[in-house]
């Protein structure tokens, strides 16, 4: 069972305390009404599926409840780093 570092609790905790919440750094458009169908489709549905470094969101759902960002290697399942929501991409 993986240990995940929660950047809010500042502790490594077992993965059962966390829930994955999909790819990170996909901001909701500020004014969705002005989005073209193509732009909106890309925002809604198009996601990266890399082998290797992947930026994703996690929630410490059975802990502090906060959403945060993480860089995880999809081929080794190792977490490279985690950081608070709103901080720049690492």
């Amino acid at each position: 069972m993986i240990l995940i570092h929660c950047p809010y609790c500042e502790e490594k905790r077992p993965e059962i305390e966390f829930a994955n919440a999909g790819q990170a750094h996909i901001a909701r458009p500020v004014d969705p009404a002005t989005q073209t169908d193509e732009e909106w489709k890309n925002y809604l549905f198009i996601r990266a599926n890399p082998r290797g470094r992947h930026h994703e969101r996690w929630r410490h759902i059975h802990g502090c409840g906060r959403f945060f960002n993480a860089v995880r290697d999809t081929s080794t399942d190792k977490f490279e780093t985690t950081y608070k929501a709103g901080e720049p991409r690492r």
């Binding site: 993986i2 959403f67 929501a85 709103g86």
Partner: protein, 953 residues
Amino acid sequence: MSGYRLSVGGRVVRRHAVTFRFDGKNYQGFAGDTLASALLANGVMLFGRSFKYHRPRGLIAAGSEEPNALVLVDRGPGRRTPNLRATGIEVYDGLTATSQNRWPSLKTDFGAINDRLGMFFPAGFYNKTFMWPRSFWDKLYEPAIRRMAGLGDAPTEKDPDHYASTYAHCDLLIIGAGPAGIDAALEAAGTNTRVILIDEQDEPGGGALADPSLWPWLERSMKALNDAANVTILTRTTAFGYYHDNFIGAVQRLTDHMPQIADGPREKLWRIRAGEIILAQGAIERPLVFEGNDTPGVMLASAAKVFANRYGVAVGKSVALMAAHDSGWHDVFALAKAGVGIVAIIDVRENVDATLLTEAEKLGIMVYLNHSVIGVNGRHRVKSIQVCGNNDYLDGRIACDALLMAGGWTPSVHLWSHSKGTLKWRNDLGAYVPDQANENVCSVGACAGHWDFGNGAVIDMLPTPKGLTRAKAFVDFQNDVTAKDIKLAVREGFRSIEHIKRYTTNGMATDQGKTSNLNCLQIASTALAKPVTDIGITSFRPPYTPQTFGTLAGHAKDALFQPLRKSPIDGWAEDNGAVFELVAQWRRARYFPKVGEDMHIAVNRECVEVRSSVGIFDASTLGKIEVVGPDAAEFLNRMYTNPWKALEPGRCRYGLLLKEDGFITDDGVSARLAPDRFHLTTTTGGAARVLNMMEDYLQTEWPDLNVWLTSTTEQYAVIAVQGPNARKVLEPLVAGIDLSAEAFPHMAIREGVICGIPTRLFRVSFTGELGFEINVPAAYGRALWERLIVEGAHYNITPYGTEAMHVLRAEKGYIIVGQDTDGTVTPHDAGLDWAVGKKKLDFVGRRSLTRPDIVAPGRKQLVGLLTDDSNLVLEEGAQIVADPNQPVPMKMIGHVTSSYWSETLGRSIAMALIAGGHKRLGETLYIPMPDKTHTAKVSGMVFYDTQGARLNV
């Protein structure tokens, strides 16, 4: 005893004799014996029948790598454990074990006909043969094959034992308490680190247990470790899996070795998180591949040494050795010293170390260098062996009753591989050893390839003169895979070891090829004329040895399998004969049958009482979220389709929640208590999902909004009082709230007191009748419910369950998200356009409502459905077609989502999702069922009180 027990030696307790049963016959053994050693001491060499050919099989090994001697241990009903290795079963008084995969008996097994037909059972036989006809597979082929080719029978009774589990944390975890593991533990003993040392055997020591010269060291070392406060020693504990971040799964066997069934747990699952792990798993000796190498009495040389030195048992009276490695020589020298008769050493190599030859000569053992065994005589036990010169092909027969194999050593890299550490090939060992670690772990001792057993030759098979058969030269003993099968796989075009493995099933038995993987690799390598490293490597996966489901499940069974959520009023419902159903994890009262009533009659009565007088319903399971903060209204305005900012305190609104893709995900009535405070409700099953979704937007998209979300689902008991007499029931009980229609209209909320209990009183309705939902602190829920039952008796207040609730809401066309919607339904599809704020520029899902696919015609839309036969209640989920006469497969245009008998209307009603449904009003559609095709007309969704007059009274 039959004379195989040595007169001295071993660690068994000779003054403590035990009696046990094997295949219905009583035997004697000593405390400290395994079933394997005790049977050997009694001259038993036949332990089982092989998987495919039903060949007689004996022991190969003395440890957990044993592939053949699988037995069933019977400790009473529900306690029959099949497929246990005889080498790991400690004997006790009354132990009852039986052999497997034979009928009628071990010595006379009708299934052995397969052995005579062996030429017809090559690799891939089942795949090639039982292809046709397909219909024969389920009824004929599979049951027959399963009967013939099998392991033991699974028990059919419920397991009466219980199983413990625990978490443990340590700085250093050492797996394997052989000399290497004990040395590592000694180094850490007395420091301020937490150390756990685990070993699968009943006694620590590993290989040292078979070497009396090490016993004084072992005793000293174990005393030091037992005295060290920082060291925890777990024996009878198998580390079966190595998971991410140094997380180890281990099973400790607590009671199976005890004569009496103990009160305590049978086994204990340890989940250990370690800072650092030292693997000291040791190495497993490799068998040699030659004709007849599976005859009972042919076994590993190291195993014979364990039986002699640890258990005081001779594996034979005249024992021969077939060696490719020096270790076998040392083993038979040890046997000779222990009093076992050694008749010959045959070594495939031309030259061996001179000291070995000198020692053999001193002990008077005949030596045949550059020779190989090419055949074994004897069916149930070795009688003699055929030995042949590798160059001159001159052969001769040597009489013996056991033949030992010394094929070299395979480091046990199982756990290392689980941890995703890499391996490197060592040509000198003919084996893979650990290379780059993927965790904070290191391998020490024999599992890292470090041993002092001397040298050996790495070979695929023993040489055999041309023309002689090697059809029964086994590689995987448990799955009955021969060298011939592997070569056949290569001839048929398989190139990767991963494919060869799956085609031949080599290494795929319960032992995961502990004794066979490397021999298979070498044979495939020779057949492919490629180096071993070019044909790949198979992966070890947990568990290292088979483990019981009971231990893995632990306490998570029966009532503890998953949490059962009960409302505060659940106890009353149970006391009053409610029939329950599960909704998400909630147990909810489905209906309250009176004596003699079935569900249909009870639900009809409950519905009629609500419509004619008053009903009472436990709605406590509704999800509830308290939304508080200066931006609360702005936040809800962004989340829900409806406008929220203008909602006045004291009023309620039906909220529709979409996902960003525009599809309905939840709904519920919510109330504004104050400018900065809302009481939200969600569906019973959606509460956690909705809170998670709202937290997501609040934390990551709109962190600037000052809003707090708190789940209050379990803080409130909710009692719905519904029906024309609802107000009359409540009026005498409520203080501080004017219940009159003028002062307290439909879709309003008031705070006050009911029966002395503070309440948030909603005037809402999911029935279409005058209705109230009383929210009180959960602890008061049952008391208030009971009071309402008493006070409402004058109006015949009737408790109703979820089934009547479903009928009542369907009569009014109120949808249930998740039943009438399926994650592809928009507000327009569901006929809920009125709930979408037309003037709102944005809310979650808003932009998606104008996506091309969403506005395209032909979408499935929710409509009412009235059967032509008003007595017919359609099946929910039934498919709907426009033309009943079209050929099969028909084009299905939708399905029934809700369907009930409405006693109030005296007919059946249904809702359905139908392509272009809104434009089909009045159209006749068809519902083909196995017995006949039903007809129904598309209608509106509100079947009762279409004007809503009953709500506003």
